[in-house]
């Protein structure tokens, strides 16, 4: 009787244990499945983000290339414009100077008639020297402006505009200074005493006409 109870109990225990092991195995299998699903999901997301970052990188490279191209073409345009403006400025000042010389000629200042060629030669060589140094400076500043341009095209356009204005001013001031120096050196020495006196008498006549004296 006791043996029968023990056998029954052992059988029952074995059956319960079997059920428990079955349940554990089932849940383990379910867990493994879930793990693989999650792993697949992570890999898919990794792939997606890699694809996205590749795309962003490609776009960034394309944009950088466009900016670079724009910068280079802008540099070429700017250099051409600066060359044009420098030539124009030089021509304008020479024309203005010629006008002054002509005015003085009309006022019968004989000596000045002989010196306009000297002035032209002196002024041209002085202007050439200053323009060469300005060109060098322009190239240096352009390089720096182009670097800025690469960082942000919009801001650089403003920088370049300011830079151009600054350069125009420099050209203007330099040429004015040259003309003053050349005038001082050439005209001052070339006018003879009688012409100097005539100029002073002209000044006195103008002063009387304008009510200064």
């Amino acid at each position: 009787m006791d043996n029968q109870i023990i056998l029954f109990a052992a059988t029952l225990l074995t059956a319960v244990l079997g059920i428990i092991i079955g349940a554990v195995a089932y849940s383990y299998k379910k867990l493994i499945t879930k793990y693989y699903v999650l792993k697949d999901e992570i890999e898919r997301r990794d792939a997606q983000s890699k694809q996205y970052s590749d795309q962003v990188l490609k776009e960034a490279q394309a944009r950088a290339s466009i900016i670079n191209q724009n910068a280079e073409s802008y540099q070429a345009i700017l250099k051409r414009q600066m060359d044009e403006q420098i030539t124009l400025a030089s021509q304008n000042y020479q024309a203005a100077y010629q006008q002054i010389i002509d005015t003085l000629k009309n006022e019968s200042i004989k000596s000045i008639q002989n010196i306009s060629n000297d002035i032209k030669t002196d002024m041209n060589s002085e202007i050439k020297n200053v323009l060469t140094s300005l060109q060098d400076e322009m190239v240096r500043t352009q390089t720096s402006a182009i670097a800025t341009l690469k960082q942000g095209l919009a801001k650089s356009e403003e920088d370049i505009k300011l830079y151009k204005q600054e350069m125009y001013k420099k050209i203007d001031q330099s040429i004015l200074l040259i003309i003053q120096n050349v005038s001082y050196k050439v005209i001052g020495k070339a006018i003879n005493l009688e012409d100097h006196e005539d100029l002073v008498l002209n000044a006195l006549t103008s002063a009387k006409r304008q009510g200064i004296i």
């Binding site: 203007d172 005038s183 001052g188 002073v200 004296i213």
Partner: protein
């Protein structure tokens, strides 16, 4: 009153020199105690001025020589001065030309204060009775170039905006 004496003076430098000479003459007259005044004048003033002063004294016979000198100094100092800045060292003939022009066209009373500044290149800067005008070549040059520069900037702006 002293036109003949004062007409000798063309520049402020001459006027200042004459004032110094007259002050000196006045002191010497005081110390000379009866010595011939005409000798003192001849010895202490320039030839032309001395002749005119002696001539004036002979004609007008001033009561007191010292008062006459004081009055003459006052007349010299009251002459209007025209300051003329020019670019060259003037010769005597230059001063004669300028003063002659002023005498003929403005007034016989004006004397010139001539300053030399080579940086004005040519022409003259004129100051008279608080008024100033610049007729120097460097000023004309700057004016013409600035005028031209304005047109140039205008043209550039049009080009930038266009």
């Amino acid at each position: 009153m002293y036109e003949n004496i004062l007409s000798i003076l063309k520049t402020k430098q001459q006027a200042d020199l004459l004032v110094d000479d007259l002050v000196n003459l006045k002191t010497l007259t005081y110390k000379s105690n009866g010595k011939n005044i005409n000798d003192l004048i001849t010895q202490n003033l320039g030839i032309e001025t001395a002749q005119e002063v002696i001539k004036f004294m002979a004609t007008n016979k001033p009561d007191n020589f010292e008062d006459f000198i004081e009055s003459l100094i006052k007349a010299i100092k009251s002459r209007p001065v025209l300051t003329l800045t020019i670019a060259f060292e003037p010769r005597v003939k230059s001063i004669d030309r300028f003063h002659g022009w002023i005498t003929q066209n403005v007034s016989k009373d004006i004397i010139l204060d001539i300053e030399v500044d080579q940086s004005i290149v040519g022409g003259a800067q004129i100051t008279f009775k608080g008024k100033y005008a610049d007729y120097s070549l460097i000023n004309i040059l700057e004016h013409e170039l600035n005028k031209n520069a304005q047109q140039y900037y205008k043209m550039l702006n049009q080009k930038e905006n266009g």
